[in-house]
């Protein structure tokens, strides 16, 4: 372990990106994510990388995708309004299978909303913001140290699955300062992008998938002379209007993530062994929920907690299992109610699922969540 230091979530994100091998950042200033860009501007050139401030959020997405196609590991960061603008090229990255991490440090919306109060209002946009059918990997850290780890993980998943990965932070975690001890570089698991195994002469096809359904398009400038497009394409990379090719393509995009879902589903369980009630939470809100659950336990209430780090693909199996054990699930969210509907779907009627929504710019207090936990107990008697 390295020395203990006081660090902000946004700074931990930048440090995690560099530790994971990111050497290119393009972006546009927006609170509450700006410290990520500022840290990258200072630290990336020191490791021989590039930081570029672009003319807008769309340019920030385009420039990192170009760098990724030239072989670099890349990351960009934004908040709600910028996240909306980036959606066009997030879809491009999904279609052309370009590894990229997009950090969204959420703030209250819609539109300019309440800059820059905390929110979890982009949960559904992270999943469905770009048009068309596509899978999405979305990770939401709950601490400064986990922001570092989640960023490394996000870069690794982007590279391994050749897909956009969203690091869905919130203002709470982004601006939180905590003492952290970061791992030594050699202890960090860093994925290296796969290279083509065949030459052009051997019939290399840039978009032909391997056994894991992920293809190996060559980096530009390596002599393969490949074509990359946002049109639906076949294994050669060239556009195809064929219904069969389109169906196989859309299927494969989804399946390459689906077959790895168990491995990329990260969550914590607390006090669940004998729990009669559960709080399901994520991101900065989970810190408050954890405190409330501990207070409830001290009062003798048999409540447990599940903290989701992987938001998408949704942890259906995890929720289905706990819904079969408890009488009710409480879902505190800093939005009008987004992930709660997925939790209801996965619980599939096995237990009551109750939303505790807050969207007035303030974070939850432990007492607010505790009071709802107490009501769960009352309701079940």
């Amino acid at each position: 372990m390295t020395d203990m230091k006081l660090m902000q979530g946004n700074e931990a994100c930048a440090a995690g990106a560099i530790a994971a091998g990111v050497r290119f950042f393009g972006g546009y200033p927006i609170t509450p994510s700006t410290e990520i860009a500022e840290t990258m501007a200072k630290d990336l050139p020191a490791v021989g990388g590039h930081f570029i401030q672009m003319e807008d959020e769309i340019g920030g997405m385009g420039v990192v995708l170009g760098a990724a196609l030239a072989g670099q590991k890349v990351l960009t960061a934004t908040s709600g309004p910028g996240f909306s603008l980036k959606q066009e090229l997030i879809g491009y990255a999904a279609c052309a299978e370009i590894p990229v991490v997009i950090v969204d440090v959420q703030r209250v919306g819609p539109s300019t909303g309440q800059p820059t109060s905390p929110s979890q209002g982009d949960v559904m946009q992270a999943r469905w913001g770009t048009h068309g059918d596509h899978p999405m990997i979305v990770l939401s850290p709950w601490s400064v140290r986990e922001t570092f780890d989640a960023t490394v993980m996000a870069v690794n998943y982007a590279e391994r699955f050749r897909t956009p990965v969203i690091l869905l932070m919130d203002e709470i975690v982004g601006h939180l300062r905590e003492n952290v001890q970061l791992p030594e570089q050699e202890k960090i698991d860093v994925y290296t992008r796969r290279q083509p195994t065949k030459t052009r002469e051997q019939g290399y096809q840039p978009y032909k998938p391997e056994a894991d359904l992920v293809p190996n398009p060559a980096a530009f400038g390596t002599g393969y002379r490949i074509h990359v497009t946002g049109l639906v394409h076949d294994y050669t990379g060239f556009p195809s209007g064929s219904p069969a090719v389109t169906e196989e393509f859309i299927d494969r995009l989804h399946k390459k993530i689906a077959i790895a879902q168990d491995e990329i589903t990260h969550y914590d369980e607390f006090f669940m062994e004998d729990a009669e009630y559960a709080v399901v939470s994520y991101g900065g809100v989970a810190r408050t929920a954890y405190e409330a659950v501990q207070q409830a336990r001290r009062q003798g209430i048999k409540v447990g907690m599940v903290r989701l780090m992987t938001i998408w693909p949704f942890a259906d199996k995890v929720i289905e299992k706990i819904a079969g054990k408890v009488k009710s699930i409480l879902v505190p969210e800093l939005n009008y109610g987004q992930l709660v509907n997925e939790i209801k779907r996965a619980a599939n009627g096995q237990c009551e699922v109750k939303l505790l929504a807050k969207y007035n710019t303030e974070i939850f207090t432990p007492e607010e969540i505790l009071s709802e936990i107490e009501k769960l107990q009352g309701g079940s008697k």
Binding site: D43, G60, G62, G66, A68, R225
Partner: protein
């Protein structure tokens, strides 16, 4: 034996192209590979990046690393490619709608930033792929499906725009003046910085038919009769300019190329240069 240029630089299996009979895009695409040949670029180190629209389908036919991006976004992608691997020669193919409407912000900032890119704008004065809507480069009073009474929008002069925004090299030619066009593109490739070449092309199908020039040859004759070499243009009295327009190299500036300037940042950050 040296390959013939079509066989050397085009993906034979992707041809014939999708452009309409009489379209000028193929002429510009050929001029680009002639310029690549002339400048002796290593094909495996050359990337063609395009946006969306008729012009931008060219990338698929050209046997390089090629990238067909989203509408208007070719310049940001190209910027990332060039900075990530400065050994690559990066040529951008765009159209009047792609570059000056939806991509307008990227265009002016690309010129300002001065990354070593060569941007070739195929100006057919219309949105061809979507069937003939007015673009920011459709001349006033010309008709389009979205300007059935004639356009009242004042058009951009993309060359003036590029120069004002800080491009290192700005030139114009036409699909009629093929050798000249090739030279203009070759000059842009040779320049270390953001180079911009406007290539005026005929679109008989979506533009010509609406504007009493349905015959491609007639459109090319119009280019022959109205394009004036810059030196002659400068001497031409304003009242004689009418529909005429200048071609040639308009501006060349020695600005520090962005990637090279950033190398100094890297050096400073690593504790070298102060």
């Amino acid at each position: 034996m040296e390959d013939r240029i079509y066989e050397k630089y085009f993906r034979q299996h992707r041809l014939p192209h999708i452009w309409c009979p009489g379209c000028g895009n193929g002429i510009v695409m050929k001029a680009i590979v002639e310029a690549v040949e002339k400048q002796k670029l290593n094909r495996d180190n050359t990337v063609i990046v395009s946006g969306i629209g008729c012009s931008s389908r060219a990338s698929g036919y050209m046997d390089f690393d090629t990238l067909h991006t989203a509408h208007g976004r070719a310049i940001p992608f190209a910027t990332g490619i060039k900075l990530a691997n400065p050994k690559l020669n990066v040529i951008v193919i765009t159209g009047d709608g792609d570059c000056t409407a939806i991509g307008g912000n990227h265009f002016i900032h690309g010129a300002r930033r001065n990354v070593d890119l060569t941007v070739v704008l195929f100006n057919n004065s219309i949105y061809g792929m979507t069937g003939g809507q007015a673009s920011p480069m459709t001349p006033v009073h010309k008709k389009a499906t979205t300007a059935p009474y004639g356009s009242v929008d004042r058009p951009f002069d993309a060359c003036h725009l590029a120069e004002a925004a800080g491009a290192a090299y700005v030139a114009r030619s036409t699909a009629f003046h093929v050798q000249h066009l090739t030279d203009m593109i070759a000059g842009g490739i040779a320049r270390d910085g953001f180079s911009f070449i406007e290539a005026v092309v005929q679109c008989p199908t979506a533009y010509g038919r609406k504007n009493k020039m349905a015959d491609p040859a007639q459109m090319m004759m119009w280019m022959r009769d109205n394009a004036v070499m810059k030196a002659a243009w400068d001497k031409l009295p304003t009242d004689k300019r009418d529909e005429k327009f200048p071609i040639g190299v308009f501006y060349q500036h020695e600005f520090t190329e962005y990637g090279k300037a950033y190398n100094e940042v890297i050096e400073m950050a690593q504790g070298g240069k102060k």
